[in-house]
């Protein structure tokens, strides 16, 4: 995972440079099932400007992984282990999970 994480951070830098502290938040994005297949990752640290919404995160993720488009219309989001919606504002150290259609049972 170390190699992947390092690569991710480098690539993220072009999306959103880490300006000064306080103007950005760092979250962790989790990918499960089909979302993991599409991105090839189980998790990804993501830096966003303060006040960013979950939708902003999604936009950033889709820009980086265009194949995620496939599940945008069928998935839901979870923030810190609770279902949420796209308009929620993410905070520093939040854990945002992409939840493709579930199929337990």
């Amino acid at each position: 995972m170390d190699v992947t994480d390092r690569e991710i951070k480098t690539k993220n830098a072009e999306c959103k440079p880490a300006e000064n502290k306080g103007s950005s938040v760092q979250i962790k994005v989790l990918f499960f099932a089909r979302a993991r297949d599409l991105t090839g990752l189980t998790e990804l640290p993501l830096e966003l400007s303060s006040g960013s919404t979950a939708q902003d995160c999604l936009n950033k993720l889709v820009a980086r992984f265009p194949s995620l488009e496939e599940i945008l219309g069928s998935m839901v989001l979870a923030l810190n282990e609770e279902y949420t919606n796209e308009s929620v504002i993410v905070q520093d150290k939040d854990e945002l999970a992409l939840i493709p259609p579930i199929s337990g049972g």
């Binding site: 099932a33 069928s74 839901v76 609770e82 279902y83 259609p101 199929s103 337990g104 049972g105």
Partner: protein
Amino acid sequence: MAEEERTQVEILEENNLIDMTKYITYVSAPQAGGIATFAGTTRDTFEGKSVVELRYEAYVPMAIRCMKSMCSSARSSWNLHSIAVAHRLGSVPVGETSVFIAVSSVHRADALDACKFLIDELKATVPIWKKEVYANGEVWKENSEFVERRLELGKDGICSGRKVEVKAGDRKTCCGSKVKVDEEAMADLSTTRN
């Protein structure tokens, strides 16, 4: 409520079989007149295709949280003694049990109705995924229960202690008035919050 509420939820890692007897024993009690159970097992075919195995994965901490939440919801709707819910992860070969629910109650109607509610709720809200592996390919499955509820999941605080929408049933039972889950109300939860 003299008796302590007993609820057990478990996610079993790969290669751990579901010990149904263990959970039935857990929910057994002298004051419980009935135990209802549901066991979900791996079918050998899907739409004519031969299934080799199912592979499960979960967002474990959230799945545990959601399973506890649905048990609380069940308790708010029915008079239950004990609940046990277990789900397996990893590969589950054809014929083996992937999910097991056991519910005990003083009178059987509560346990039977709550057991059905719990498996439906699990399939709609608990973040667990299964990949069906065929002889010539594989596919991530999607529960219809989830698809129907998808748009309300983010609104209702599901997995954060949301109460179940129930409506007094008009059905006659031997034990007087009971509640039952109103399927239409369940599908229209977006307008209600706890």
